[in-house]
C-alpha cells in the first residue's frame, strides 16, 4: 500500500459521531418561517382556478407571480419552472408554497387550498412519448455491412427501472434576505449550480447571492440538480416574506417528487459471423420525465458505455431521452452507465449461451486493451487491468468452478453465480471540464502557517475534506491537522466545479496538489499567501466533439469486476445472497478506509438496484413506492458477505495516481446479480430490478 493510502481519522468524524454536526434542519433562525409546497395531484392538466382560504396574519402564499427574475431553474436547458405557470406536467409539479411561523398551521392552510384542474391525457409510457428531448447517435466501422454479412443476428431488449437515491437526510434548504442580498444554505452537492440558479430566479446580480453548503446527509446524485430547484423556490419565498424561510421535505415527498435514476429500454442487435461478434447496433431509450433537467448528459454517458468493456469494431448507438408526465429523472451515481452496462453484460451472456460457450470466456475474447479505440473512436490510453481483476475474483469466489457446477441442479434450494466486467469513465463526459467548468482551486496559507483549502466541492460523506487535506498536507510536508477545510461558502471559495461525475478528487485534487507544490516552493513562514490553480486539460487527450460523438469522452477509466452468488428457494422464490465480491481499480486510493467505504456502499446500492428497489407509477402517473415501507433498500442483514478488493493501477495525471472512484461500484452489480439468478433458475432474464415476484413468475412458468 502506498503511504498516502494509509487511513487517518476523517476530518468530519468528531462532529458527526458526537451528534453535534448541524444539518440544515438543525438550524433555527430568529423570526424564521416554515414553508411547504403544494404539489400537483394531476399528471397533466391546465390549472383553472386556485382557491386560497383567508390567510392568518404572517402567512403567505408564494407562487409564479412572486418570481422576480426568470421563472425557470437554471440547470442545462432551463425548462423547469420555479413554480408552475398555467399547466402541470407531472404529479408533484410545484404549484405554490405556503409559509408562516407555525408549520402545523402551514399544513392546515395547504389542506384547505382547492385547485381546480382541467385534466388532459398524460403520457405515462416512454415508448408512447411524442416528445424527444434529446437524441444522439454515433457510429464507427460499418455496422450495416456487418449486419448484412452476419450468419445470424441476435436481438434482445432490456429494461431497467427507477432507482431512488434514498439519502438518509431528505432535501432541505433555508433562505434569508439581508443587506440587499440573499443567502441560501442547505443540503447540496454543488453550491455554484445553486448560485447560478438562484441568481437567475431572483433576478439578482451574482454578487448579491451567497450559497452555503450545510453538512449534507448523503447525495448520490440526488443533490446535484434538485437543490437548485428547491433553493429557487425557497429564495423566492424568503424574498416575498422578507424573512428567513426553511423548507425540509418529508420522506414521502422526497421519494415521490425528487429526481431519480432514469428508467431505460435498450434494444441490442448483435451481428454474429463464424461464432464471433462482428458488430452491435444499439438503441437506447431513457425516460426523462416531465422536464429535461440533466437528461442530455445522463444519456450521453449511457450511450458511450453501450458496448461495455468490449472491442466492437462495427458499432452504431442511437439514443433518445423522451418526455413523459412523470417526475423528472436526474443524476444518480453511475449517471446513465448502470442502465447500458446491464444490457450489454446480459446480451454478452445470452449470446454465449446461445453459441454454447462459457459466458466469461466469451467476454474475455473481446475485452479492450491499452491502445484500443473506445466506442467514440477515442483511445484507452492506459493499462486495462481487467484480466488480473478477473483472476482475483475467480480466486476469491471460486467463480469458474461454481458457474459450471450450478448449471444443472435439482431440489428446493438452487444456487447461481454471475460475473460482470465494467468501467466508469472518470470525470465529466467530453469536453465539459475544459469548456464549461473551468475549475479554479485555491489554497491560503494563514499567518499562523495553517493552510486553508478553498474549493466549492462538498463533502457529502464521501470523505473529500479528508482526502483533499491529505493531498495538501503531504505535498506541503505539513501535518494533516495543520490543513483546514470548511463547508463551501460561495462568498469565500472559487468555483472549482460541482461535486459530481467522480471528478472531485481526480480533477480538483490534482489542482490542489499543484497549488501545494507551488506554495511549498514559495513558503514564507508567518506570512499570508494565496495560490490559485486553473484546470488544464491533459495533453494526451483526443478532443471530444459532441456533434460527432468522436474523441476521448473521458481521460481515463476506473475498472471493476463483480461476482455475486445467490441461493434461490424454489418454493417461496426468496433469494439469499451468499456472497458479493468486487475488485476495483480507482488508481491509488488517497485513503484506503474511505475507498473501501465507497466501494462497499456503492456495491450494496447496486445490489439494491438489481434485486429489491422497485418503484413504479400507477395509471394516474402517481408513484406508489414513496416510503421506506414500500421502497425497500438493503439493511445490514441482506448481504453479510460483501467483499471488496482494491488493485493498484496508478493514473499518471491524477493526484498521487488517483482517479475517479465514487460511482464505479454501482455500475456492475446488476448484471452480476441477474446472471447469478439466471444460473440458478436456468432462464434468460432481461430486467431489473429482478425481484422476488419476478423470480416467482419464472418459477411458476418453469413448473407449468
Amino acid at each position: 500500500m502506498e503511504k498516502i493510502s494509509e487511513s487517518v481519522k476523517k476530518k468530519d468524524h468528531d462532529d458527526k459521531i458526537r451528534g453535534s454536526a448541524l444539518y440544515v434542519d438543525d438550524h433555527v433562525m430568529d423570526d424564521m418561517l416554515y414553508g411547504k409546497l403544494l404539489h400537483s395531484t394531476k399528471a397533466k392538466a391546465k390549472i383553472i382556478n386556485i382557491s386560497i382560504p383567508k390567510l392568518p396574519q404572517g402567512y403567505f402564499v408564494v407562487d409564479k407571480n412572486d418570481v422576480t427574475g426568470v421563472n425557470r431553474v437554471h440547470i442545462v436547458e432551463d425548462d423547469t419552472p420555479v413554480y408552475v405557470e398555467n399547466t402541470v406536467e407531472y404529479v408533484g409539479d410545484p404549484i405554490l408554497m405556503v409559509v408562516g411561523p407555525d408549520f402545523k398551521e402551514v399544513e392546515a392552510i395547504l389542506n384547505n387550498i382547492i385547485v381546480t384542474y382541467e385534466e388532459e391525457i398524460p403520457v405515462l409510457d416512454m415508448t408512447k412519448s411524442d416528445t424527444v428531448f434529446f437524441n444522439y447517435n454515433y457510429e464507427k466501422g460499418d455496422i450495416d455491412k456487418a449486419l448484412k454479412e452476419a450468419d445470424c443476428i441476435f436481438i434482445e431488449t432490456f429494461q431497467t427501472g427507477y432507482q431512488e437515491q434514498a439519502y438518509l437526510e431528505t432535501q432541505g434548504m433555508i433562505a434569508y434576505p439581508h443587506d440587499g442580498r440573499m443567502t441560501v444554505r442547505g443540503s447540496m452537492q454543488c453550491p455554484y449550480y445553486v448560485y447560478g440558479a438562484v441568481s437567475k430566479a431572483l433576478g439578482y446580480e451574482a454578487k448579491d447571492i451567497q450559497i452555503i453548503q450545510d453538512v449534507t446527509g448523503g447525495g448520490f446524485g440526488g443533490k446535484e440538480a434538485f437543490p437548485s430547484i428547491l433553493a429557487c423556490q425557497v429564495a423566492v419565498a424568503a424574498k416575498k416574506a422578507n424573512k428567513p424561510v426553511k423548507v425540509i421535505f418529508g420522506r414521502r415527498e422526497d421519494m415521490e417528487f425528487t429526481s431519480k435514476r432514469h428508467p431505460s429500454i435498450s434494444t441490442y442487435k448483435v451481428a454474429i459471423k463464424d461464432g464471433k461478434i462482428t458488430g452491435m447496433d444499439i438503441d437506447v431509450l431513457f425516460n426523462s420525465g416531465a422536464y429535461t433537467t440533466l437528461s442530455p448528459v445522463v444519456l450521453q454517458r449511457g450511450l458511450i458505455c453501450a458496448n461495455g468493456v468490449y472491442r466492437i469494431d462495427n458499432l452504431r448507438v442511437v439514443g433518445r431521452a423522451v418526455k413523459i408526465n412523470t417526475v423528472p429523472c436526474g443524476a444518480y451515481r453511475g449517471f446513465g452507465a448502470p442502465q447500458t452496462f446491464f444490457a450489454v453484460e446480459m446480451i454478452m451472456d445470452h449470446i454465449a449461451k446461445e453459441i454454447g460457450v462459457d459466458s466469461l470466456e466469451f467476454k474475455e475474447e473481446y475485452i479492450v486493451k491499452q491502445g484500443d479505440s473506445t466506442s467514440t473512436s477515442g483511445k484507452y490510453h492506459f493499462h486495462v487491468p481487467l484480466p488480473e481483476m478477473i483472476d482475483q475474483i475467480d480466486k476469491l469466489a471460486d467463480y469458474r468452478t461454481k458457474r459450471k457446477q450450478y448449471i444443472n441442479q435439482a431440489g428446493r434450494y438452487r444456487k447461481g453465480i454471475g460475473m460482470s466486467l465494467f468501467f466508469h469513465g472518470c470525470g465529466f463526459t467530453g469536453s465539459g471540464e475544459r469548456d464549461f467548468i473551468k475549475a479554479v482551486a485555491k489554497i491560503k496559507k494563514n499567518s499562523d502557517d495553517t493552510v486553508e483549502i478553498l474549493v466549492s466541492n462538498s463533502d457529502i460523506g464521501q470523505g473529500l475534506k479528508t482526502t483533499f487535506s491529505k493531498i495538501v498536507g503531504d505535498t506541503l510536508g505539513i501535518p494533516y491537522e495543520q490543513v483546514l477545510i470548511n463547508n463551501p461558502d460561495t462568498d469565500l471559495v472559487p468555483d472549482s466545479g460541482p461535486t459530481v461525475a467522480s471528478r472531485s478528487l481526480m480533477t480538483v485534487g490534482e489542482l490542489l496538489r499543484r497549488a501545494s507544490e507551488k506554495l511549498k516552493k514559495e513558503w514564507k513562514a508567518g506570512e499570508v499567501q494565496v495560490i490559485e490553480e486553473h484546470f488544464v486539460e491533459p495533453d494526451f487527450i483526443i478532443p471530444f466533439n459532441l456533434d460527432k460523438f468522436k474523441g476521448d469522452a473521458y481521460p481515463t477509466y476506473s475498472w471493476g469486476v463483480n461476482a455475486i452468488e445467490v441461493e434461490v428457494d424454489t418454493l417461496t422464490a426468496e433469494t439469499k445472497i451468499l456472497g458479493a465480491w468486487g475488485s476495483f481499480d480507482v488508481g491509488v486510493p488517497i485513503d484506503m478506509n474511505i475507498i473501501q467505504g465507497q466501494m462497499q456502499g456503492g456495491f450494496l446500492q447496486g445490489i439494491g438496484y438489481s434485486s429489491m428497489e422497485q418503484m413504479s407509477s400507477n395509471d394516474k402517473g402517481m408513484i406508489r413506492n414513496n416510503s421506506f415501507s414500500d421502497y425497500i433498500i438493503p439493511t445490514a442483514v441482506d448481504v453479510p458477505n460483501l467483499v471488496t478488493e482494491i488493485i493498484n493501477n496508478p493514473y499518471s495525471h491524477g493526484p498521487y495516481g488517483a482517479k475517479g472512484a465514487g460511482e464505479l461500484p454501482l455500475v456492475g452489480a446488476a448484471p452480476a446479480y441477474v446472471e447469478a439468478m439466471e444460473n440458478a433458475l436456468g432462464a434468460d432474464l432481461n430486467k431489473i430490478p429482478f425481484t422476488t415476484e419476478d423470480t416467482m413468475n419464472v418459477l411458476q412458468g418453469v413448473h407449468k
Binding site: 433555527v28 416510503s627 448481504v639
Partner: protein
C-alpha cells in the same frame, strides 16, 4: 405536562401528549442529535434509548414516557462506552454522511449492553433497524466488533 429523565436530568415537557417524542426532543429541547429520516419508524435515524431499549422516537408519543429515562447521543457521548465506540468507528472510517450515526451509535450500545461479545450475525441483526445508505454496513459492523474487543469490562 409530562415529566421524564432526559440524559440524566429531570425535565418537564409542556408539549401535547400526542406529540412525537422526536419532535419534542428536537423542537422543545433542541436535541438535534436525534435525526428525522422518515417519521414512520423505518429508518432508525431518530433512535433513542428509552428505559434501556432502542426505540424510534418518531413512533413514541410523549404521553407514553412519563417517568421514563431517555438517552440521546447528547447524553451518551459523555460516557466511557461512547469513547470506545468513537475510537472504533474512527479507526475504520465508519462515518460517511453521518445522518444515521447518532442512531447507529445508540444501536451499538444496545447490542453490547445486552451481549458484550456479539457475533457478526448478532451485530448485523442488532443494527438491521437502522438504515445506512453510504457504507454498505461493513465498516459499522467492524467498528462494533472492535469496540466489543477494546471495551472489555465496560459492557
Amino acid at each position: 405536562m409530562i415529566k421524564f429523565n432526559l440524559n440524566g436530568k429531570e425535565v418537564i415537557s409542556s408539549s401535547k401528549e400526542n406529540e412525537r417524542l422526536l419532535d419534542v426532543l428536537r423542537n422543545e429541547f433542541s436535541i438535534t442529535g436525534v435525526k428525522c429520516g422518515c417519521k414512520e419508524g423505518e429508518c432508525g435515524a431518530c433512535s433513542v434509548i428509552l428505559d434501556g431499549r432502542l426505540v424510534n422516537s418518531c413512533m413514541v408519543a410523549l404521553g407514553n414516557i412519563e417517568e421514563s429515562t431517555i438517552v440521546t447521543i447528547e447524553g451518551y457521548r459523555e460516557t466511557k462506552r461512547f469513547d470506545v465506540l468513537d475510537k472504533a468507528y474512527a479507526s475504520v472510517s465508519a462515518v460517511q454522511c453521518g445522518f444515521c450515526i447518532p442512531g447507529m451509535i445508540l444501536a451499538s450500545e444496545c447490542i453490547l449492553d445486552k451481549n458484550p461479545n456479539p457475533t457478526e450475525d448478532e451485530i448485523r441483526e442488532g443494527i438491521s433497524g437502522n438504515l445506512c445508505r453510504c457504507t454498505g454496513y461493513n465498516a459499522i459492523v467492524k467498528a462494533i466488533s472492535i469496540a466489543a474487543k477494546e471495551g472489555q469490562g465496560l459492557w
